[in-house]
Every structure is written in C-alpha cells, then in structure tokens.
Symmetry: C2
Subunit: 436 residues, 2 copies
C-alpha cells in the first residue's frame, strides 16, 4: 500500500515534507576503491583495465580484443530481428529530429559604440558513453545518449559496455550502429571511466563522459570531473501523475507501475482531486501487480515510496508538483495543456491521457535522460547542449575602445589590478596621439 | 624568464606536453574540514554560521545582523565615487545587453504523425552568489554573476560575502545594488555555502550557487552539488596571445601581465611566428615588471608558468591553441577575425590589437567567468543558461499513439519492462475497440 495524503489533513505539510525528503537510495561509499582503480588505470593503462575486467567481469581481454571489431558488431547485429531493428530505427529517427531542433545559433553583432560582440558554438571533439551491462543494459539509453552527441557534431564517440562472462546484448550494438557510434569497448566499471578520461594505449582519451551506471561508475565520474566533462549523476527514476476522475484508473495504474518496475528505489506519485479516483487507481495497481513480471521490484517501490495525494483543486496540484520538481510529470486532466503551462519545475511533461510516459522513454523524440531527485529545480535533461560549448567573441575598434575603455580602466584601478588598466591605457594613449 | 619553445625544435612535443600538463595549483585537501562545517550548519543552522564567522572572520553577528539592511547598503553605496558608480553602471548595461541576447526560445510543433513536441525554458527560482572577501573581492565579478541570473528571471538572488574584521567593500555592495540583488549576507567560507544550500532560520535555501572562492568554498560547492546546482569550479586564470610582429610589444606585454598579476598560479602564453618579436615582448614585460604594483605575483607567475612559443606559421598557432584550449585567447594578427573562426576550443576570443583582454574582464559585455585548465574543451563560460532549465513537452493524439506506440511497446519488451509496454498497449487496445 502506498501512502495516502490529503491537503486538507492537519498533518499534511509534515507528511508531504517527509515524502519530499525521503532518502530513496543508499549509495555505498565506494570512493576509496574507485580512487585506487583510477590511479591504477592512470599508472598502468591497458594492463590495469585488462586485469580489472578479468576480476570483475570474468572476461579475459587483450589490447586487441578490448574493442569490438566491425565483424563482431555486424555478427551481433545480425541476431536482431527485423521488427526490433525497425523499432530502434524509428526511435532513432524521431530522437534525431527532436534534438536537431535544439542546436542553438551563433550570433555576432556590432553595438552602438562600434564594438563587435558575439559567440560561436562548437562541438566537443571526443565523447565517451557509458552503457551498463547486465539487467540495466538498455538499447534505448544508447540512442538517447549517442544521438544528441552526433547531432551536436562530436567527431569521435566511444562506447564502453561491460560484457560480464562475455555476454553481449545485440540490441545495444545495433543501437550503437544506428546512432553512428565510432568505437565500442567491452569494458565497464570505474576502470572504463578512467580509461575514457585519461586514455590508455588502446583507448584515446575523450573530453566528455555521459551515461548511467552503478555506484562505482557514478563515483568514478565524479572523480574525473574537471579532467573531462560529465553529465548529471542520475538517481532512481520517478513519476508524478496529476489526474482527474475522467481517466481510466487502469491506464494511470500502468503509468505509475512503469516507474515502479524500474527499481525498488523508484517513486510513483499520484495527485488527484478525487479521493475515490485515487482509491480506484490503487485497486488497479494491486490488480496489475498480481501478474506483472517484475512485481517484486514494483511492489517494493510502490509500498515504500508510492503515494496518493488528494487535493482540493488542480491549482494545489501544480503548486505541489513544483515542490516535488518531478523527473517525469504526466498531466491527465481536462485542461492538461493549460495546466502544463503553469508548471515551473519538471524534467519532462506528458500532456493528456494519450501520452503515457513510456512513449518518452522510447520513441517520442525528447530525451529520456532527465533530472531526478528534485534537481529539475536547477537542471535539464540531456540534450545537444551537453555536447557543445560556447566561445564568446569581442572585437573593439579604436572608437569603441575610446568609448568604453576609460570605464574599464577605472574598474581595474578599483580592483587594484594595475596591468589590466595599463593594457587599456597604453592603447588609449596611442589614440590620443592620433597615431592609429 | 619564461620558457621558450619553438615548434621546429626536436624536443618541442615533449616540452609542449609538459607545459600543457603543468600542475599550477596545489589545492590543499580541506574536504574533511568542509564536511564537518557543512554538517554543523545543517544541524545547528544560524548558531553554527555565527560561531564560524566569529572564528574565521573575527566578526560577531546575530541572526538580525547577518544580513545587510537596506540602510547599511545605502550608507556603503554613498561612499562610492560618482565616477566609479558610472563605470559600474556602464558595465552593467553592457553585460545586461549581451546576456539578454542569450535567452533561448521555447518551441512547440506538431510532427508528421500528429505528435506535439517541444520544450519550455524556466528560470531557477532562487540563486546564491558567493563573493570572496578581502583581496579578491571584485565588484566586476558581482556584475558578471548576478546580471545573467537576473536576466534569466531568477526571482530571488542572495549574495554571501565575508567581511573579515567587519571590513566591507562599498563597490561590491554598489555592484550588487546595480545588478538587482535581493539579499546580501556578511558571511563566507564553507559555512556560507552550506547555509545557502540547506538554509537556516535566517537564510532561505537556494537552488543554485555560483561564484568563485578559495579551496574551502570550492570543496563546499562540490559537496553540496546535487542538493543544489553549482557553476564550474574555476582554477587559476590564463591567457594565450597569438601575435605577429605587426604589434607593439608593450601592448602584448601588458596583456600577458594582466593575467600574471592575478595570481602566482596564473599562466600567460605567447605564440608568435617571429622569434625576434617574442624576445621584444619578453623585454617589454621585464621593463613593465620593474614598476608594476603587483610585481611579486606577476614575476612568479611569468617565471614559473609563462612561455613564448615560436611557430612556423599561424596555422600551427591555431592547432596549438586548440590543444591548450585557453580560457582567454587574444588574436593580434593581420587576419585576426579569419583566424578566430578556425579556433575550436577557447572560453573567450579577443580579436585584434585594439581588444585587450581587460576589456572582457570589465566592460565588453560577454561574461568573464570562463572555463580554465583546458576545460574549454567541454564547457562554456557563465551565461543565462546557468540560471534556466528546460522542460521537454510531449502530447500524443490517439492517431499519433497508433503510429508510434507499437514500436515503443516492442522496445519495452526487448528491455523486459512489461508495465512500460502495457501502458501503451492498454491505450492501443482502446483504439482498436474504437472507443476513444
């Protein structure tokens, strides 16, 4: 049973605050181990990576077999059914189209004093993408990480994916192929992150590392941050559904279970203005749980972190949603689009009953890598912006420098940075002598 | 004396790689102390902040005096000369105009299957800005951090600025006032970062913290990252000047010294295609150093990290520049603008001899918070983008779901996420019964 809250209850604020603050993930402290692994890879390169892969993945590699050959990739891809391949290709086409619209423009203009200003966007030269092995080896995540990088213009995109006991997921390789990934290495863990960040004889270093991973991978990403760029450190997934009683409780139940089945730490929340509808959804969840393949996981998530919140009206729902700042927000109400415009903090919004969140996980087009754990208050999902960077541009003319240089000189003086001021003054003096 | 390198030397690659890898900053390991400070502020709030401020800043505060009152701000601002005020206002106007152009657009469209997709940008609700006290208390940094936040639409912007022994920099308060800062607290160090991130009775928590600081502040920002957003952790400043011999060596010398005077760990590099010109610049630097106020700092920086690199041609210069990925790049060559277009990795480019880098520090318009230590390979300077975040939007119609839903269902199945697939299937089945 999930928790039941009602904004009209006297203890609502206390319980809602507790719900917001609930610690859903106990990250083991692996920082010390990860530091040693990174140091080892920096010192011994390929040899360290090979040794650690043998130890953790029970897979013996050589520098020559670390990377999937084109023949190996083709052989794995041949195992993928036509239908699966077509689904991946449709997803890739839609994700590519959505992300292509995100590319920002360069700009350059000359202002009223004659100063030419602007900026220029350029892609990261090389990026590395971490793909988990085993259970959480999702081809959809390959598409969601790799396509924005390629749309951004990243020249070299390398994937690392552990293959414990040598077991490979053909769909992951197919997704990589469709997305245009350049190199695929069968390594994982902190050692793979270290190899990408610092390079080895076999693996050239990259500038940016993205992609999900376990506690070791997350700790390694934090540690190499600065040497390379990283994306967010994602926490367990979460969904908030805002629904009125004009919905099929079973649809809403399935949307809540789509998160709950991910992970025992996932969180599924329902806000409704009809307590009876909330009860109907809970009943529908119970019914679906009876037969769900991943019911053990979903039951634990729903029991420990699920909640149904009854509100007096939808304005209350929006206000609570902004406090939750959900990763996924599904709005199934009569005026869903209007309500969605009132939301300030959410990673992704799914508007209306015909937009189950799962569409966004696979095929809609927007990215499924989204800010978790209330970080939608200050961060965004993955996008082409994660694979480009901006160079600002300034060009003064003598006239422009004459107009604004004296103020710079004065500010430099106020900060006791004499050379700053002199670098402007020397030029202004030349202007005054007319020798330009 | 700086180092002299020449691309035609046999040992160039070795020496250039060593230059790139030179460790310029020895960050003391203060992580343990900072962890304790943060825990203390979380546990005891205002009391801890007050105690630590008394200890580190020799300043006794109460919850009532922690924040500058409007009367105090006005009294400090009254000490600022009209000329300084005018310079700050001109800088603010230009910074505001530049950053206003950075605001990205929302987008929403309906694609060929009838799916409506898009995104919407929203500001961070509350941001905190760290301003160092003492020597490095720069009013220009207040403008460069606060104005993008306000342009982005941040509703509540709080500054923390330590005032050791109660000494306040009136220009910092004036810059804050001009930039529209909402709250100013006379606290600093890790305790101020903790107060902003977690809140106290007096200070409401913020969602994002930006601004430079010492090793304690940097460690605190790293630790609260995740709970709140942070900007980059900036390292010591650096400049690369690419110049041909058609420049006044003294101008170039002053531009190099503008970085060197910041910090003993700062780095000033010159790339030229004329070794004799390089020598002339070095001589000009020596001459200016004789009288420079901050010569002790500048001498150490120029001696330990300065370098003059002679290249055969400007194409070599651009290639080396991209390997350096400099924070500031000044291009003083005949075809400076053309050359600037060939650069891929740089935080900011200053084009032509009439654009000393100091213009960018104060008055040009672009931000002076820029990626250091080669991080321009993967990151950008501060901008309005740091204070907004994107919510992606999806809205399916029954027809759109019928078109793309089956592929989502198939991909869900391939990832063994049954509820994901069922959430789509339940809706598709309704369509098939015609009951929409």
């Amino acid at each position: 049973m999930p928790q039941f809250l009602n904004t009209s209850d006297a203890d609502f604020e206390t319980r809602f605050t507790a719900l917001l603050g609930a610690k859903r993930e106990d990250s083991p402290d692996v920082d010390h181990i990860v530091a040693e692994i990174i140091a080892d890879v920096r010192a011994r390169g390929d040899a360290a990576v090979i040794e650690l892969t043998s130890k953790f993945d029970r897979l013996d590699l050589t520098p020559d077999t670390m990377r999937f050959s084109q023949a190996e990739i083709d052989a794995e891809c041949a195992k993928v059914s036509d239908a699966d391949r077509a689904a991946l290709e449709l997803a890739a086409t839609r994700i590519r189209a959505y992300h292509a619209r995100q590319m920002p423009s360069d700009d350059m203009w000359t202002d009223e004093v004659g100063a030419t200003l602007g900026w220029r966007w350029t892609p990261v030269s090389a990026a590395g993408l971490y793909v988990p092995g085993g259970l959480a080896s999702y081809p959809s995540s390959v598409l969601m990480n790799a396509i924005p990088a390629k749309v951004a213009g990243v020249g070299r995109l390398a994937i690392v994916v552990p293959t414990p006991d040598g077991i490979t997921n053909p769909l992951v390789l197919m997704a990589a192929k469709i997305a245009g990934v350049d190199e695929i290495y069968r390594i994982g863990g902190a050692q793979a992150v270290a190899a990408l960040a610092y390079g080895t004889d076999t693996i050239a270093p990259v500038d940016k590392i993205t992609g999900p991973g376990n506690a070791f991978v997350a700790a390694a990403k934090r540690r190499v941050f600065g040497k390379v760029g990283i994306d967010m450190i994602a926490g367990p997934s979460e969904i908030l559904v805002i629904a009125d009683n004009d919905n099929d409780p079973d649809w809403i139940a399935l949307d809540l279970l789509s998160q709950a089945e991910h992970d025992e730490s996932a969180q599924s929340l329902l806000i409704t203005d009809d307590a009876a509808f909330g009860q109907a959804v809970v009943a529908a969840v119970e019914k679906r749980l009876e037969t769900l393949e991943r019911r053990a996981i979903a039951i634990a998530s729903w029991r420990d972190f699920g909640a149904v919140i009854t509100v007096a009206n939808m304005a209350e729902a929006v206000a609570l949603s902004d406090r939750i700042a959900p990763e996924h927000l599904e709005i199934c109400t009569a005026d869903a689009e209007n309500l969605s415009n009132q939301v300030t903090h959410a990673g992704a919004i799914f508007i209306g009953g015909w937009t189950p969140e799962a569409i966004g996980d696979y095929i809609g087009g927007p990215n499924h890598v989204l800010p978790t754990a209330r970080s939608a208050r200050f961060s965004s999902g993955l996008s082409v912006m994660d694979f480009i960077k901006r160079t600002t541009l300034s060009k003064m003319t003598p006239k422009a420098l004459a107009a604004i240089g004296p103020a710079a000189e004065r500010l430099a003086k106020s900060e006791s940075l004499q050379a700053h001021g002199l670098s402007v003054r020397a030029r202004l003096d030349r202007l005054n002598t007319g020798d330009t």
